[in-house]
């Protein structure tokens, strides 16, 4: 067992303890308060967390290919949720078929074989130019700009941005060989912990709404409390990263801020399309994008920062 494996085991144990704790809290709440909607929602959420943690652990054990496959599956689920809400028309059928069955698998293949130079521009340049070309061949011009923009956004968010999570596995950081999977764990733990703590602080102290036009449940108190707690937690996880305590805290701050702002952007899109949740596949949480929105916005920035300052390639 290498040092990194021990770190991963420690983190898994910590997660397990937290999940057991939350499950116990849920059962106590149910015994005390009865099966109200709030308690029931808490318990379904905790149950879904068990599933998500188990899937992530399984992917970590399966190694690189397992992690790439897991996030490819998440990208696929997210893409279908996003596209379902767009206004695409019959004329976009082949552009959509291309997005789902060519662009998406090819992008993840490039991530898997670690061809950074190509996957970094594949969707932003080639998808950007060629999908509108496929769409225009049907010569349906109504809402054309909106339609091609939505297609591009769907691929950028759900495939390109999200794929930066498994891409972390391929960074070569001197002295951190074999530990990259812990970078993913760091990112995911900080983002999800920040989401949970914003919710918790908001419920405990929340008074002033931070963006009433976008999200009625987000408050200034929840935002500050969540960001502060998750930043501290990130700093406290420095031992499993190539960072110092201060650096880990700084990166955690960037991650939580990006996650929060990303959540606002995704809320605005949901509002515009008139829905409350992106989907219904994760009980208690809504859709995949509802759970991944913060990760989608934080992952590329975290990836670039680490790549620029810590990695050799």
């Amino acid at each position: 067992m290498t040092g990194w494996d021990r770190h991963l085991l420690l983190l898994s144990l910590g997660t397990l303890v937290l999940l057991v704790l939350f499950t116990a809290v849920g059962q106590v709440l149910r015994a005390r308060l009865g099966e109200g909607p709030m308690v029931a929602n808490f318990n379904t959420r905790v149950k879904a967390w068990w599933g998500m943690a188990a899937l992530l652990a399984l992917a970590f054990m399966a190694g690189r290919s397992g992690v790439v496959l897991l996030f490819a599956a998440c990208s696929f689920a997210a893409l279908r949720e996003f596209v379902t809400l767009t206004r695409f028309r019959r004329a976009d059928h082949w552009a959509m078929v291309t997005a789902f069955f060519v662009v998406f698998p090819l992008h993840y293949y490039l991530v898997w074989i670690d061809w950074y130079g190509l996957y970094a521009i594949f969707i932003p340049v080639y998808g950007f130019l060629f999908l509108p070309i496929i769409a225009v061949l049907r010569s349906d011009t109504s809402d054309f700009l909106a339609r091609i923009a939505e297609t591009q956004w769907a691929l950028m968010l759900c495939v390109f941005c999200l794929s930066h999570v498994p891409a972390l596995l391929y960074l070569r950081i001197p002295g951190y060989e074999g530990g990259n999977v812990l970078l993913i764990a760091f990112l995911v733990v900080v983002v999800q912990f920040s989401d949970v703590m914003q919710y918790v602080w908001g419920k405990l102290l929340g008074r002033r709404r931070i963006a009433p036009g976008l999200s009625p449940s987000k408050t200034v108190e929840g935002f500050l409390g969540g960001v502060a707690t998750a930043t501290l937690a990130g700093a406290g996880l420095w031992w499993m990263t190539p960072f110092t305590v201060l650096q880990a805290g700084g990166l955690a701050l960037v991650i939580t801020l990006m996650g929060f702002l990303g959540g606002l952007v995704m809320s605005a899109i949901k509002r515009d399309r008139g829905v409350k949740d992106w989907g219904h596949l994760i009980p208690g949480h809504g859709g995949f994008i509802d759970r991944l929105d913060s990760v989608i916005f934080a992952a590329p920035i975290f990836f670039h920062l680490v790549r620029y300052w810590w990695s050799t390639a």
């Binding site: 279908r80 949720e81 379902t84 059928h93 078929v97 789902f100 069955f101």
Partner: protein, 212 residues
């Protein structure tokens, strides 16, 4: 052997429908109880009745028979097997050569055997921009002959975008099947008034769940 093959194929069809569409049933107006009903739905895709059939819980599914066009489904041995043994459909002649009222007689026979029906009162697939085509009178004739059976409007959202008419590769979008509030023929209600009310109920089912 034939029954086993039919059961296996039924499983594969529902699995494929679920994988491609991640479909969800919303029982907005009626609970999913195995009582006798006539489900009437909007029709935009060949997969429509497959999706409704997939969304019905097994007890309701075993009781229900989709209504389908004989011209298409009797065209090959495989189609004949699928439509008769897997879906157990009521086949109706749409060519105009059959005696008038034969389709209604076949549907009433299925109802009198205690079965539910899944049908598409628009009569043909809607390929235009309007959400619904005008209803054919068949639904009225059924309601007039068996006024005690509740008519349940079923709105299928998005399936037409998964696989529009003439395309071969599906786009795996999420589909929703909404079961609306049941209605019945009022005593003395005229045909056209009833058909308009049924169409309005189907449109309302859509708006309640999928927005205007």
């Amino acid at each position: 052997m034939r029954r086993l093959a039919a059961a296996a194929l039924a499983y594969l069809i529902t699995l494929a429908a679920r994988l491609v569409t991640a479909a969800r049933a919303v029982w907005a107006g009626v609970p999913p109880l195995p009582e006798q009903r006539i489900y009437f739905a909007n029709h935009r895709s060949n997969g429509d009745f497959v999706l409704i059939w997939t969304m019905l819980p097994p007890a309701l599914r075993a009781r229900s028979r989709p209504v389908a066009g004989a011209d298409y489904w009797l065209g090959s041995a495989l189609r004949r097997f699928v439509i008769r043994d897997v879906f157990d459909a009521v086949l109706v002649d749409r060519s105009g050569r059959a005696p008038k009222g034969a389709a209604i007689v076949a549907m009433l026979a299925a109802l009198d055997a205690g079965r539910s029906l899944i049908l598409f009162p628009e009569g043909t697939r809607n390929a235009g921009e309007a959400p619904l085509l005008p209803f054919r009178p068949g639904l009225y004739h059924l309601a007039a002959a068996r006024p005690e059976i509740p008519l349940v409007p079923v709105w299928i959202e998005n399936l037409n975008r998964v696989m529009p008419k003439g395309e071969v590769v599906p786009v795996p979008l999420i589909c929703t099947v909404v079961f609306g509030e049941a209605l019945q023929l009022e005593p003395g209600e005229e045909r056209d008034a009833f058909l308009a009310r049924a169409a309005a109920a189907l449109a309302a089912t859509r708006e309640a769940e999928c927005g205007p």
